[in-house]
């Protein structure tokens, strides 16, 4: 006991010394610069966005010549760890792009500056995107771009199998898969992940479509609800009937080759696949379609994407707000779509010519009814548990029993 007390005392002393050192270095919260002052705004953006934000910032300088935007591109694979270490070292930038499922963690870290809801209105954005960064009435991130899931399928092969109409319900989807299976060229009727990292993204739409949610009203996991069991049962059908491969795909598996060859004629995925199919399987142009995910009780998909967050430690909050406003304005969002093919989170941007003329209606429809992943600090762990459950489900596990097991495991994680 005494030893613990001693080390606690030692730690406390070190803590005090450190915090004194830190406050001596940083000039504290008082020194906020106005948006008109000459200053440099540091921004971290991930992947391709990192390269493009710098370009779009030039346009921002036409109206805000005093704010120099310094963009640091960060790779997606290291971004999470880099941000967490920066938070630990108190070295965060002013503004950053944050993956939508990371919101909960960073809220928990207490490093995010609440969004000024007078400047940014919930009504302007897709509801699920906005709700994903809301906790206890405070909003911590402004939705920047969104992505969602739709169903890709080979229309030519569907016709060959005797199905002329696009699938709209779960029953349609199952019937289409069974029709596909009868074709000689088919290896697997449906590319439906049997567990493995990220497979929760394919199951969540079933949950939302059945009317379920990840958390109940009290903020406790609701993964053994009747709706969740329905979703698991529906998901399992494809494995039970031999329509989908019952083992996880090897890391790095790309469905496009099989889709192009016709051996896997149906898969659910995000908007980026439109371009990828056009690039990698040009021979099937006009022979495939993307439709909203077939629905159970209600239409549903999930929403993903990125938010823009300002960090509490920033001394350039006013400038950060101006830049965020610029990036989420309908005009910039439309430019951004043309540049990167990322879907605008701001609904007004969808009226801009760039999007009006593009073939994106299917995504707009999906986005309006999409469910959101709540901002949980332990989301990564919950997601992992869902992945594990799906793997067991594909091997023939009982949906109700697995749902119960999943509920027990996740209850301990979410506080």
């Amino acid at each position: 006991m005494s030893r613990i007390a001693l080390s606690r005392a030692a730690i406390a002393t070190t803590a005090v010394a450190l915090s004194l050192g830190l406050t001596a270095c940083s000039s504290g919260d008082g020194d906020q610069l106005g948006a008109d002052a000459k200053q440099t705004l540091t921004v971290w953006a991930m992947g391709e966005e990192g390269k493009r934000v710098a370009e779009i910032a030039k346009k921002f300088n036409e109206t805000h010549p005093d704010i120099t935007v310094k963009v640091t591109p960060v790779g997606w694979d290291v971004a999470h760890q880099k941000l967490v270490s920066a938070a630990a070292a108190d070295q965060l930038p002013d503004l950053a792009q944050l993956g939508s499922t990371w919101m909960g963690e960073f809220m928990d870290l207490g490093v995010l500056e609440p969004v000024d809801t007078k400047a940014f209105k919930a009504d302007d954005f897709f509801p699920a995107a906005w709700k994903g960064s809301e906790r206890d009435g405070q909003v911590y991130g402004v939705p920047w771009y969104v992505d969602t899931r739709v169903l890709y399928y080979r229309t030519d092969l569907a016709e060959k199998a005797g199905v002329a109409k696009a699938p709209e319900t779960w029953t349609d989807q199952l019937a289409l898969a069974e029709a596909f299976k009868k074709l000689d060229s088919t290896k697997w009727a449906f590319s439906h992940p049997a567990g493995g990292q990220g497979s929760w993204q394919n199951w969540a739409p079933y949950l939302f479509s059945a009317g379920g949610t990840i958390l109940d009203k009290d903020g406790k996991p609701a993964l053994d609800s009747p709706e969740a069991v329905t979703a698991f049962t529906e998901y399992a059908k494809y494995f039970d009937k031999g329509l989908a491969k019952d083992t996880p795909a090897a890391p790095g598996y790309d469905v496009i080759k099989d889709f192009g060859a016709g051996s896997v004629p149906m898969f659910p995925s995000g908007p980026w696949m439109v371009q990828n199919i056009a690039d990698q399987a040009p021979q099937i142009e006009g022979k495939w379609a993307a439709v909203p995910l077939p629905a159970g009780k209600q239409p549903a998909s999930i929403i993903g994407g990125s938010n823009l967050v300002t960090f509490e430690s920033s001394e350039h909050k006013a400038a950060a707000k101006e830049f965020t406003k610029f990036l989420t304005s309908p005009a910039t969002q439309a430019d951004w779509y043309e540049m990167s093919k990322s879907l605008p989170a701001n609904k007004k941007a969808w009226d801009e010519p760039a999007l009006k003329n593009a073939d994106v209606a299917v995504f707009e429809e999906a986005l309006n009814s999409a469910g959101e992943i709540p901002p949980l600090a332990q989301w990564e762990q919950v997601a992992h548990e869902i992945d594990v459950t799906l793997e067991k489900l594909a091997k023939g596990g009982d949906p109700a029993a697995l749902a119960e097991e999943l509920q027990k495991k996740t209850e301990g994680l979410v506080s």
């Binding site: 070190t14 967490v84 938070a87 963690e105 870290l109 890391p251 600090a377 992992h384 067991k392 091997k395």
Partner: protein
């Protein structure tokens, strides 16, 4: 060591022809005799120049100081990047350090041995422990066996392509794991892979190695053996080349066949190398991380989940640093115990 061996063995073998044995024996003796006075002279030389006994402590401390100075860069590096983190991990393993503590580390609470007791009841950890054991028990003997075999082959017969084979066996050791993964995925791919192609030639269907719960781990072991046998081969090769040819020649003259020569000469004289290779390979295999990380990510159904992989997941994906630290120390204790056991078993026999 080698001097005494070459001097004694030919003498004890009575049938040895005088002409062949005398020269090496003599030269060994003269070599020794020449070395001894030389060393003495050098020692005496330094002593006299430093000025005798009174100055000795002073000279020593100056010696020490420059020694410390020279090792400062290494020590600074070691303390910052090794000692401090190792100690911090130990402290952390007794706390509930989690995501929230990243910004306020001193809020972490001491929980005593709670993490460790939780580990004992953690099904996933026990599974990972079992998988790691499986990996070691199958992988280490295979790596050492194949490495020794390759070394013996390279050391004896094939003169012409020696360099080619040496490079061939060693190349996987220095190849980046990502490149290795690409190659092995091609080998194991169930539809277009090398094995599937060969199987198809004879009318068989290859299984989906990495997606099968029973085959995934053996596949990773095969990959690890291929990757690591080069290291043990190089060490064995060095050990083999240190065995003096006279000993072999003597054995041959005594009528020993190739197998007998291997058993009576090569194996006993390789024992120190064997100890080193065994200990190092076992430590490496107990820490197995890269193979499952790049090939299967622990799946299917946790069948390739190893302790290091689980530790990485808990620590860096979920930020349960306290819990992950307790795993690290548990693994450390296991490695220490296994190493001590091996040192004991393999060392006693050499005496």
């Amino acid at each position: 060591m080698s001097g005494t061996n070459s001097a004694e063995r030919p003498a004890s073998s009575g049938r040895a022809a005088a002409g062949t044995t005398d020269t090496p024996a003599e030269s060994a003796v003269t070599g020794k005799a020449a070395a001894r006075p030389l060393r003495k002279a050098a020692g005496a030389g330094t002593r006299t120049t430093s000025g005798g006994t009174p100055l000795r402590p002073d000279r020593l401390s100056r010696h020490n100081l420059s020694g410390w100075l020279y090792s400062t860069p290494f020590l600074a590096f070691f303390v910052t990047f090794m000692a401090v983190p190792i100690l911090a991990t130990l402290v952390m393993s007794f706390t509930d350090f989690g995501l929230r503590n990243v910004t306020n580390p001193f809020d972490a609470e001491f929980v005593g041995l709670e993490n460790y007791s939780e580990l004992l009841g953690d099904e996933q950890f026990l599974r990972a422990l079992f998988n790691t054991g499986y990996f070691v028990v199958l992988g280490v003997p295979l790596t050492i066996g194949c490495g020794l075999l390759a070394a013996v082959l390279l050391n004896s017969g094939i003169e012409r392509f020696r360099t080619f084979f040496r490079v061939g066996f060693y190349a996987p050791v220095v190849t980046a794991i990502v490149a290795v993964a690409v190659v092995w995925r091609f080998v194991l791919d169930p539809s277009e892979g090398l094995i599937a192609g060969l199987a198809a030639q004879v009318g068989l269907t290859a299984p989906d190695f990495l997606a099968s719960e029973s085959l995934a781990m053996p596949s990773l072991i095969a990959m690890a053996v291929w990757r690591n046998l080069g290291t043990s081969m190089v060490l064995f090769l060095a050990g083999l080349q240190a065995i003096p040819t006279e000993v072999r020649e003597a054995a041959k003259l005594d009528g020993a066949g190739a197998f007998q020569e291997f058993r009576r000469i090569t194996v006993p004289l390789l024992r120190p190398t064997m100890l080193y290779v065994t200990v190092m390979t076992t430590i490496g295999f107990l820490n197995v991380f890269e193979e499952p990380f790049v090939m299967t990510n622990g799946g299917p159904s946790d069948s390739t989940l190893t302790v290091s992989l689980l530790m990485y997941r808990e620590g860096f994906n979920f930020f349960n640093m306290g819990y992950a630290s307790s795993m690290a120390y548990t693994l450390f204790v296991i490695i220490l115990a296994v190493t001590l056991l091996q040192m004991r078993l393999l060392k006693d026999k050499t005496k």
